[in-house]
């Protein structure tokens, strides 16, 4: 990617003046160019604007000359730290997904497009299939229920209530059920909708006096998939309508699938009748995958995409991202992108000290001994001096900083730290850690020192 962009820039260089080039183009980067979707990073909003308004044509031409397919170009500015929020918009999960760079659409917009799309009345995303859903110990029960639902829709597991934390694949699994059922029986009437879009459609239908049409549309369905039902909070009228639709479909033995991030009785303001209905056929969860599952997921993804990534690199990512699958996949994409940018393989990148954005990814590549050596060197001491018995304040501080880094960065226990820094027992380590913990809040110098040492440790 890096070399590619370099060629593009060479092309552009011949078309604009040298000052223009150095002012606008020199700091730009090509982030991706997958399937015609091109993303280019710019230095700041001012440069972004010039790219959009003045140089878009030039960039497109230069990309084409370098045989890069271009449908859409998005110019972005990297920013991560600034946060703005209007309180009134806090109600739903929408704005969490909102991305100021304009790369990601609001989920409600996506849902709306899918919901109102005549060519795809089911609202299902065909990307989600049972084949590309990786089964592991974290989700095998949910998957076997999903298979039972596919074999016998509307029978034993009705409603199928699936819950689990964000980014663990709930949406994937339920959409895969819909896609599979549609594949087997293309005439089946399937609808996938996130609950918040259910509301807005309902409210619209009331405003347009088409309430009857709305409920008819739902009552004709053979399979209804409602995503993220936890956002049902505090909307009584729609809840009432949903309850009726639910009952009608249920009595006609039509399959209903519901996802949530928590159990029905934990969703506040859900009517008790509805809560008990939702869990009447049992509730099934998807948990965070363990290390092996995470490896399997990434491996499957790499095979699916035909990406070139070593298994060791996959292991490294799987080991360091423990939050959820969405983060796992984004970290995977990031490693691939950065490796691509630097023209190395993912494993080379990791071995060169690439630090993960999530998780404490750095810690694995350094040993306790290295930490102790670096700290001693930083304070101009020998390891022997630092790990000796001296109570001189600078030596003592160095020793405590070493303990602190071992504890925070390598997550070592106090008993394990003690022999590394030559102290008697874990209580001494605990005292040392406590002291640094307090001092670091007040003493900027110490904090900077520790940051510098960390940089030295991970720097080479």
């Amino acid at each position: 990617m890096y070399n590619l962009w370099k060629n593009v820039l060479e092309e552009i260089k011949t078309k604009v003046s040298a000052p223009t080039f150095s002012t606008y183009f020199a700091d730009s980067e090509l982030i991706t160019a997958n399937g015609g979707e091109v993303v280019i990073n710019t230095k700041n909003i001012f440069v972004q604007k010039q790219f959009e308004k003045k140089y878009d044509g030039l960039i497109r031409e230069a990309l084409k000359k370098n045989k890069i397919e271009v449908k859409n170009i998005t110019y972005v500015v990297s920013a991560g730290s600034t946060k703005v929020r209007q309180k009134a918009r806090e109600i739903t999960g929408e704005n969490i997904e909102e991305n100021a760079r304009g790369v990601v659409k609001k989920i409600s917009e996506v849902a709306k497009e899918r919901f109102d799309n005549k060519e795809n009345p089911s609202g299902l995303n065909s990307r989600y299939t049972m084949e590309n859903f990786v089964v592991g110990s974290n989700n095998d029960l949910a998957v076997s229920v999903a298979k039972a639902v596919i074999e016998n829709p509307g029978k034993r597991y009705n409603p199928f209530f699936l819950y689990g934390g964000p980014g663990l694949g709930k949406t994937h699994l339920v959409e895969a059920i819909g896609n599979e059922l549609l594949r087997r029986n293309p005439k089946m009437k399937v609808l996938y909708t996130p609950i918040d879009h259910f509301y807005s459609s309902f409210v619209n239908s009331i405003q347009n006096k088409k309430g009857a049409e709305f409920s008819q549309r739902f009552r004709k369905l053979d399979l209804l998939i409602i995503d993220d039902i936890q956002f049902i909070v505090g909307k009584e009228k729609s809840q009432e309508e949903f309850f009726h639709i639910f009952n009608d479909l249920y009595q006609l033995n039509k399959q209903i699938i519901i996802t949530s991030d928590r159990l029905p009785n934990q969703i506040r303001t859900v009517d008790e009748r509805l809560a008990s209905r939702l869990s009447s056929a049992g509730t099934f969860d998807i948990q965070m995958p363990n290390f092996e599952d995470r490896c399997a997921i990434l491996k499957a993804k790499a095979e699916w995409e035909g990406a070139n990534i070593e298994f060791e690199a996959i292991e490294y990512i799987a080991e360091n991202v423990k939050t959820n699958i969405r983060d796992l996949e984004s970290e995977y994409s990031r490693v691939l992108a950065v490796a691509d940018l630097k023209g190395v393989t993912p494993l080379q990148l990791i071995n060169a000290g690439y630090s993960s954005a999530i998780g404490g990814g750095k810690s694995k590549s350094v040993s306790a001994k290295q930490v102790v050596e670096k700290v001693a060197k930083y304070y101009d001491l020998s390891v022997k001096e630092m790990c000796g018995k001296s109570r001189v304040s600078n030596i003592k501080t160095a020793r405590q900083v070493a303990m602190y880094i071992l504890s925070k960065e390598l997550q070592m226990s106090t008993t394990k730290i003690a022999p590394e820094v030559g102290v008697k027992d874990h209580t001494t380590v605990m005292n040392g850690l406590k002291r640094i913990d307090t001092d670091i809040k007040l003493n900027f110098k110490l904090r900077d020192q520790i940051e510098e040492i960390k940089e030295k440790i991970y720097g080479n």
């Binding site: 700041n44 909003i45 001012f46 730290s81 600034t82 946060k83 703005v84 309180k87 100021a100 007040l442």
Partner: protein
Amino acid sequence: MKIVVEQEKLAKALNNVSRIVAGGKTTLPILNNVLIRVDAGKATLTTTNLDMAVVDYLPVIESVDGVITAPARLMAEFVSNLPKNAKVEIEDKDKKITLKSGNYKATVNGVEADDFPEMPEVDEKKSVAFVMGVDEFRAGLSEVLVATSNDTSRPALTGVFYNTFNDSLFVAATDGYRLADRKIVEKVKSEVKAIVPTMPLNEAMRAIQEDTEEVEILFNELMVQIRVGEVEITSKLIDGSYPDYRQLIPKNSEENIEVKKEELVRTVKLAALFSKTVGGTIKVETDAKNGKLRVLAVANEMGENASEIETKVEKDEKITLNAKYLLDALNCIEEESVIIGLSPNLAPMVVKNAKSSDYTHIIMPLNV
């Protein structure tokens, strides 16, 4: 393009926009120019250095629509030297701009507006806005700007941190040695955490006129826009994480002493004279037995100095710090009395306004 404007208004507007112009330092010559645009009878002047932009609306007596750019500094200096109360006429023809005012006339080479950068717009729907009185805006800034850092290796500390906390808007700045925090607006409805570079803030302060009443600040994730009267200043934000500075402010100091600001400033200045060789290190002590606050010079190569202020003191505390930082802190407070907070164990010194809790300035001790 043609405009006829009162000399004073034009001079003021050109002055407002031309300060940010790089003046020969830029590689891109067009950035030395001001964009003069007349659109449906409305005239604006725009300049940018590609980190920020200033737009000023110009009240015109007569106008013909059009757009051109001209060297900003030259225009500003020429117009400011014309007689007051006169009318100035600016007209462009074939990229030559004629300035006329009575018997004074000049022709300046213009550059086509096509080469001038496009300005990013602020999408109000995706932004949060805060409106405040000019006094709050100005006081907030003048009390924290001094604590910003010049060290470009930590960019976040070179800016002013606008942040909301408990439904109030605060500005804060720190360079790692001292920290200033000021509440400027209460009961705000939006949330923000953004680091604003000091240059647009200084420009916004300069743009304040006698009749300006309010300042509006809009933030989105990439930029800030400050609207002061007819002037709009747009800037990028600093990308970086700001330290969790509230952790650094001691909740309660062990000893709080109220002193006359003037008196303390004098004693600190006197002590600083004797500590020049050690970089202005002075010691501040409280003496409970004698009811005194004492300020001493630490180095005695030049001699010694100790000054005392009589006041109510309950505990013995002491701190060693840099005299300059203490003077800076005291100069930020526009009140007769200040409260000095001290605690043991190398805790920072807290300097507050005796009449208001909105402002907190803390100074890290020197460990000697």
